[in-house]
Amino acid sequence: MDRLTNVTQLEGWVPARFYWREGKPIVDWCYLGRQSFEAAFFEQTIGKCMTRPFNLLFRQQTPIEVLEEWHQIRPGLKPTGFIFHMSRCGSTLASQMLTAIPTNVVISEARPIDSTLRAQFTSTETTDDQRITWLRWMVSALGQRWLGAERHFFIKFDAWNTLDLPLIRQAFPEVPWIFLYRDPVEVLVSHMNNRGAHMIPGVLSPNLFGMDFQTAFSLPPEDYCTKVLASICTAAFEYCRYGGRLVNYRQLPDVVPEALLKYFNLRCSDDEIARVRAVAKRDAKDPSAIFQNDSQKKRDKATGAIRAAADKWLYPVFENLEAARQEQPAIT
C-alpha cells in the first residue's frame, strides 16, 4: 500500500477497480498507455490489458484520495453526455455509434463507476456527499485524452445506475443526458433468454430495486425481472421533468446522427456522420452481424408469464415514458 511516491507516475494508467480493504476504499490502476476504448464495454478493454504479463504483475493500488490528487493535475475532459437505459434496448448500439468518432472517449458500463455509485452497499457509512465526490474523481480519471486529441467524453452507465440519476445530476448538473427504453415485452424476452446481472437477485442486491431478499427469491423470475425494470423506468420517468431526453429503441439508429449529436452539442463533419451511420449497419454486440430491429421476433417469443408480468408492472410506466417523450421538445 502507499507504494506510489509521486502521483504523476499515473500517466497512462486507468482505474480498473474500486473496492474496500480493511474498511478503506481502494483503487486498482491498470496501465493502458496510448489506447482507446474501442471495445463495446470498458471491461473488455481492461480484460485485454490484463492478458499482458506486465499488467498482471504491476498494478498501482492507491487509497481513493489519490484520485483527487490526480484530478487536480490531470482533470481530463468534462463529460459531454450521459447515456442511461433500461438494458437490452439499443444502448450499446448508441454508445458504439459515438465511439465511431475518433475524438470521442466513450466509457461504457465501467465497473469502477458502478462500484463508486454503489459504495453505500459495501460500506453503509458512506454518505451521498462522499459518493458524489468519488464519482467526480473517478469520472475525471477515466475521461483522459488517451490518444491525445480527444475532445468529447461520453459515459454509458449500467442500467441500474439510473436509480442514482438524482445523485449523478448533483455531481454533474450541466451534463446533458438521455434515457433509452424499449417495449417491455421485447426487453423481458431478451433477459429471460440470457439474464443481465441486475436480473439475478444476489448478483445485485434486490434492495437496490426496493425489494428485500425474501421477496426477491419468492418471486417467479418473470415477475422479479419486470419489477427491476419497472423501478429503473420509474426513476427515469420521475426525473425526466428536470431535463434529459427520452429515446425509444424504435428511434434507433437514425436518432443518433439526426438528433443526439446535436443534443450533445457535437459539431460533426460529413465524414464523422458517415462513420456514425456505418456502425448502425452492424450489430453492436456482434460486429459481424448486421443490426436489425428484431421487435417482432422478440414479441413472438413472449410467454404468457412475460406478458402478464409486463402488463401488470411495466406497461404503465412505459406508457408514462411514451407520453412524456411526446411532450418533450423535438431534438432535431
Binding site: R3, L4, T5, N6, Q9, R17, Y19, Y31, G33, M50, T51, R52, P53, F54, L56, L57, F58, Q60, R111, T122
Partner: protein
C-alpha cells in the same frame, strides 16, 4: 541458476555497407514483393529474393518442401558484392533476401520457432540501411544493429520491430544450415546448462520478488523496460534479469507463481 541463452551475437565480419547499397541500387521498384505474412505487420514489409526455393526472385518464403532445392535467382547476378560476400560463408545457404521494413511500419511480436541453434537453421542479419529510430526488440532486449555488421539472431525467441524513423530499414537476411564452421564462430553454447528446479529455493526469494515489484511501481524506466514484451517467457527472463541487476534474488519459478496468483486473483476479483 537461470539458463544463459545466446539470443544474439555479432559475428566477426565487417561488410562494406557502401558496396551493399550499390547492390541495392540494382533492384528496381517492381522487384520488391509484399511479404506473405500479412498477419504480423502493419505498414509495408517487402522483400526481394537473391536465393530462394526454386530460384524465383519473387519467392520470399524461406522454407521449402524437400523436393524443391534452393537456387540463386536472376537478381543475384546483378548484385556483385553480395555474390562475393556469400562466398565467405562456408556452410550451405538456404534463402538469401533483401527485406525492407518501410518507414512507419512495424512487425508485431512473434516467434519463428524453427530458427535458432536448436532448429539447426540460423538466420543472419546484415543491415544495409537503417536509422536510430528503428526499435528492434529480441527477447525483450533492444538490439542496435549497424550497417555492415553481421548478426546471428535466435528468432525462435519473441521479437518485434518498429521503424519509427524517416527512412526505410533494409537488411540482407541469410538463412544457413548450422555446421561446425558456423558453430565455431558462435560463443560456447551455455543454453544446455539448463535451470535446475531445486536450485536456491530459499524461502525469502518470493519476498525478494515482492520488494522488486514495489521498486518497479515507483520506477517509470523499469516499467517501460518491462512492457517491451507481451510474451510470458521473455517477460519472466527479463524480470529475473533486471531484478538481479538491482540485487533482488528471485528466480523464474517465483515470477511464474506470482503471475499465476495474480491471474487467479484477477478472475476472482468480484467475489468478495
Amino acid at each position: 541458476m537461470s539458463a544463459k541463452i545466446i539470443s544474439s551475437f555479432k559475428l566477426p565480419f565487417n561488410f562494406d555497407s557502401e558496396a551493399l547499397r550499390a547492390d541495392l541500387n540494382q533492384i528496381c521498384p517492381d522487384d520488391w514483393v509484399a511479404h506473405f505474412n500479412q498477419d504480423y505487420f502493419e505498414g509495408e514489409w517487402s522483400g526481394v529474393a537473391l536465393r530462394s526455393a526454386g530460384g524465383d526472385s519473387r519467392q520470399l518464403y524461406s522454407r521449402t518442401a524437400p523436393e524443391i532445392s534452393f537456387a540463386d535467382t536472376p537478381i543475384l547476378q546483378r548484385c556483385q558484392y553480395v555474390r562475393e560476400l556469400l562466398t565467405q560463408f562456408q556452410c550451405t545457404l538456404q534463402s538469401v533476401r533483401f527485406l525492407k521494413l518501410s518507414t512507419g511500419s512495424q512487425i508485431r511480436e512473434h516467434r519463428d520457432y524453427d530458427l535458432g541453434v536448436k532448429g539447426g537453421q540460423l538466420r543472419l542479419h546484415i543491415p544495409i540501411t537503417t536509422n536510430p529510430e528503428v526499435q528492434f526488440f529480441l527477447d525483450a532486449h533492444r538490439l542496435e544493429l549497424k550497417a555492415g555488421e553481421c548478426w546471428y539472431l535466435d528468432l525462435s525467441l519473441p521479437h518485434w520491430v518498429e521503424n519509427r524513423g524517416a527512412t526505410d530499414r533494409i537488411h540482407l537476411v541469410i538463412d544457413c544450415e548450422l555446421n561446425d564452421w558456423l558453430r565455431d564462430l558462435l560463443p560456447p553454447d551455455e543454453s544446455i546448462e539448463s535451470e535446475s528446479n531445486q536450485d536456491d529455493k530459499d524461502s525469502s526469494s518470493s519476498e525478494q520478488l515482492q520488494l522488486f515489484r514495489q521498486t518497479v511501481l515507483n520506477d517509470l524506466k523499469l516499467q517501460q523496460r518491462l512492457r517491451q514484451t507481451d510474451d510470458r517467457e521473455s517477460f519472466i527472463r527479463l524480470l529475473v534479469g533486471l531484478g538481479r541487476e538491482l540485487g533482488y534474488r528471485f528466480n523464474a519459478a517465483d515470477a511464474d507463481n506470482a503471475l499465476r496468483a495474480e491471474q487467479q486473483a484477477w478472475f476472482e476479483r468480484w467475489i468478495d
